[in-house]
Amino acid sequence: MNPLLVVLFLPLATAVFNRLFGARLGKGAAAGLACASVLVAFAFAADSVLGLAALPAASRQVLVHVYDLLDLASFRVGFDLLLDPLSGMMILVVTGIGFLIHLYAVGYMHEEDAGEYARFFAYVNFFVFSMLTLVLAANFLVIFTGWELVGVSSYLLIGFYRGKTSAADAGKKAFIVNRVGDFGFLMAIFLIWNAFGSLDFSAVLPHAAALSPGMATAVGLLLFMGAAGKSAQGPLHVWLPDAMEGPTPVSALIHAATMVTAGVFLVARCHAIFELSPLALGVVAWTGALTAFLAATVAMVQVDIKRVWAYSTVSQLGYMVLGVGVGAYTAGLFHLLTHAFFKALLFLAAGSVMHALHGELDMRRMGGLWRKMPLTCATMIVGAACLAGVPLTSGFFSKDEILLMALRGPHADFGLWLLGYLGAACTAFYSGRLIFSVFFGKPRDHHAYEHAHESPWVMGLPLVLLAVGSLAVGLLGLPGFLTHWQPFTDWLAPVFADLKAVPEASASRALVLGLMALYTGTVAVLGWIAWRLYTGEAAAHPADGEATSALHRLLWNKYFFDEAYGFVFVRALLGYSRWLWRWVDQGLVDGTVNGVAAAAQAAGDFLRGRVHNGRTRQYAAYLAAGACLLLGLALIYHR
């Protein structure tokens, strides 16, 4: 049996088993089973990837046919899995970080009762299965299936706390907003099928050049619509901050490390189509850049630490999208990889803080926590440093690469770079702001401070591992002028072999170094500003609803996206629905149906009294008369 099948179906099997029997097994067994299945999946995934690496670079593609989904004469779709460097990287991320988060969740979810506990692990395992289906897909149908399964499991996990209305609403919001993107994705799939007659990547992507430019643009834009939904690109980003209603490990796993990167993955997977359409790529790049900047500005004023990281995630996803949009796929994916580590770390550390403070998430009530929870503090500082792009951290290298490509890449534009740069500055500010507000300065809520405590080892261990990973993973993609050892670029090279050579040479070493110095300086300055603003007793946190300026109000209300949607879509839809209900459904449809029924009943009442009177012999007389009539007609017409 192919190890990929184990990777894929073991989490599914444990999910089903846990959902059915986990509550009876008890917490330990359910959690152990779930963690073990993901660990085994990781081991098998690593084995598969090593096996892949052993192949010559040009032929690093393994196709696994599981079974035929659809086998018509002219159209065949199989449940096919494709292992190539891209999906290999993704399955390692999904199972590896997934395992750490599972481990963390063992401690984090400890207070739930056994049934909920098992349900949680079942859903998380199911998510892992869905995500693996998505990344391992070898055709558009399977990837769409994984796409939808991911949406379902995300919905289940966001709304995991069933008692909370806000959680249920957030789940619905995530699902509905994602549907908008999915619609585009589905349309794109239909167009692809129409154009190629097949949904297999191998039949579509290498021959993408056969598409007319208009069609390529249409497919690219529709695909990106799906990607924007999943990867929370503006204006479809609104679901992601609300998705923080789910348990923190879920936020870390799904809404930071894995699921939201699906859009980036999709664009990278379908780069052959995007490359055909400068317009589509431009839309991708600009959307990414704008999202990166705007989300970063929003993150600067939020006081809920998970919400800050949520907007930060949106922003960082914007960087990845910007990366793939300017044609720097490797850079975008490298940022995906580093971000998976440090954002998972940040979320888990935020969860650790939240755990310590019994659910408190408002940074205005924290402060000085580093004494109470040094490990969390240290790891979170590492994560924040990566996020902010402190030199020599992984985030520094990956973001630097993207920004460089925005300035000098194949589809570069100064505006893109500027937005990216401003966003990076904001990122440095809000990262510092959060770290300093939470861990430094004086405790602002002494009651909470007194009860704060470090998290258990089962939560601490993943933090440490992720922190180490966050730092180390940067080594895989050091800038080209430092070293010729480029494992990440080399690894992905076969996937992007069809692209023109990345013109890194066009950027002089002086420019690169200059940019690096610029970033470093920016980070230092903004970090210092944040330190000054947020470590004092009266930190610069305005109280709720107390806007200091119009700009602050705009940012505090997240550019009024939700309100705009509420007005444009929800209110309008409600009004339209109400109209449909009142006039079309109740008036026209019901009126017709009831009218027909009433007419039938009236006729029936009449006939029942006169004709259907229960006298059998009278019925017989009707029969005989009818027979006479028919006979007479037959005699008249048959002659």
């Binding site: 029942r608 229960g614 017989a620 005989a624």
Partner: protein, 100 residues
Amino acid sequence: MFGVGFFLALAFALFAVGAFGVLTRRDPLVMFMCIEMMFNSGNLALVALSRYLGLASGHALVFFVVAVAAAEVAVGLGIIIAIFRTEKDVNVDHLSELKG
């Protein structure tokens, strides 16, 4: 003198008599017999026509009619007896519960 037309006419006459019985009698059992009589008039016509046209399939058809009639009688009588047990009366003019 006894050609196929004679037998057809006889069959039609029996059919009419049966129809008349169904229309006028109130005893469900007699109505039932009259219905059977109409069946039989059909059978007679089939036999006569088989003889006239030289076809054995008419006989097979009669066989089927007889079998179906047997099934019909079994169920019909069961129903009549069931009705009688609850109503103590089988005058069809008094039975109109199912008129709706």
